[in-house]
Symmetry: C2
Subunit: 301 residues, 2 copies
């Protein structure tokens, strides 16, 4: 088992779905990622919040065993995001984004984090992602997420960054946009040519595809749920389960990567069952194993 460092956002989200509205709940890519990964390995979190960040949220993240010495509190307000899934449960419509303290985020890596062998660069400015990597000389495995905004506005630095990345996580629309290809196979081939050893294309409620060595390597459907309450954070939770499992096993073999995709899928399926990270507060390792076995039988694995 190796330590896993994540850099990303810790946020206050306001989310509307057809089931109702949740105001200023705990959110952010690093939050979802770290809580998900905490079920598999030791997670070290790097992010920033404002002085208005509720103490109960800080305690909640810590209660999962996540090291939050890298969670800086700055003068100002915490990053806020407001989104709606009323029109489409699979695709958030952003109503409002307030970067607040996140706008001037200059990450600092605590000394105690420096031996993190596994790193996940959640979706933030690629300049910051690259900066973090340079501070982690002993890193072995790097996972990376991004989004259309950076693909369109910082593609040069993003391409530099991808040379250092082992696992790139993008959704299908992002992969198509980055590559200019409508075929997802061609899009993934383009992404692999930029450096990542593996590319994982996330398809929301339809699952994920793993690409490796110029070709499709795995096709995995999503675990089917009767009710989805809030899809926020599903992608980061997927990455958290995936990278957490890798760090736990500390070997990159076909079998480990396959299982990492399954655990990532399972963790994402838990997230969407409740608002914010609510589903994890009472989640047991046994629940994960039970659903993992059920998932394997449903996909015939």
């Amino acid at each position: 088992m190796k330590q896993l460092l994540v850099i990303g956002s810790v946020a206050l989200d306001t989310i509307s779905t057809s089931l109702g509205r949740s105001e200023e709940v705990l959110g952010g890519s690093a939050t979802y990622f770290s809580i998900s990964a905490s079920f598999f390995t030791q997670v070290n979190l790097v992010a920033t919040v404002g002085r208005d960040f509720p103490e109960e949220h800080r305690s909640l993240i810590k209660s999962f065993g996540v090291d939050i010495r890298g969670l800086e509190t700055k003068q100002g307000r915490t990053f806020r995001w407001e989104g709606s899934y009323i029109d489409d449960l699979n695709c958030a419509k952003t109503i409002n984004t307030q970067l607040n303290v996140f706008a001037d985020f200059r990450p600092r890596i605590p000394e105690e984090y420096k031996n993190s062998k596994y790193v996940f660069l959640a979706n933030i400015d690629p300049d910051l992602q690259l900066f973090i990597l340079k501070g982690l000389k002993d890193r072995q495995i790097v996972g990376c997420d991004s989004m259309n905004y950076w693909i369109q506005n910082k593609s040069t630095v993003l391409k530099d960054l991808l040379k250092e990345v082992s696992f790139l996580f993008l959704n299908d629309a992002e992969a198509r946009s980055f590559s200019g290809e409508s075929s997802i196979i061609k899009a993934a081939r383009f992404l692999l040519s930029l450096g990542p050893r593996f590319v994982i294309i996330k398809r929301g409620e339809y699952g994920a595809i793993l690409f490796h060595k110029d070709a499709v390597s795995l096709l995995v459907p999503a675990f089917l749920l009767e009710t989805v309450r809030d899809p926020t954070g599903a992608g980061d939770t997927f990455a958290g389960g995936f990278m957490g499992y890798l760090a736990k096993r500390n070997r990159i073999t076909g079998e480990v990567v396959r299982n990492a995709i399954l655990y990532g899928s399972i963790m994402a399926s838990f997230t969407v069952e409740n608002v914010s990270v609510g589903r994890f507060t009472n989640l047991k390792k046994g629940d994960i194993e039970t659903r993992y076995k059920r998932f394997r039988s449903l996909i015939m694995a």
Copy 2:
């Protein structure tokens, strides 16, 4: 191996995709179904065409070993459908439908077909589907497809019909519309309550879900292709591979049904690689086995 009877349409299709336009090519649900199933078992076709139906199309269907003694030629023009995939490769926009001889179709089952133990009722008027079933006293296994038009306009007879059905094939939108449920699990549970032993929800490029005994039984992604040329007939080809494989094995066990879904998926993946049934003219049984093995490894089965 048992004989498999299919009743449905044999049509002339005009199809536009971003790759071009194909005029008056061989189409129809019974065409796609029977050619796909012919790779697994003896298929008996019941349908009607007009006097304008090209002899070469008749010969082509026959060349797959399909028994076409039930393909009636009537005074008038063959059923025509025109569709476009220019806006969305996953969803045909109907430009024009001319029922022609199909409007007064009164199916006749040749004596030689009467011992067909497996039956597939492709998407036609549920009154005709029920009429066909009543003429097949020795039937053992019945598959059935339908569409929103019949769900909305003939739901009473469709519900009567479903009591006789072993395998119901619907796409996700049809299942939601029939049940009034947005959750696909709840929709499938409603459909199962109407009688079918198994419900198969087709999700186009995202694969299929098998439901059985009130619950999800299998989640299968679609075989991922680099280029899709024409998605027409994918659903009927899927059903053809599925029912053909069942008839070949002539046993309904978990293992047989699982494999039937895989073979159905594989046959659908071949169809969309070319316009009309063009991909099947040079398809070998070995090609099917090769892709089946590749598919199993991609889904970890």
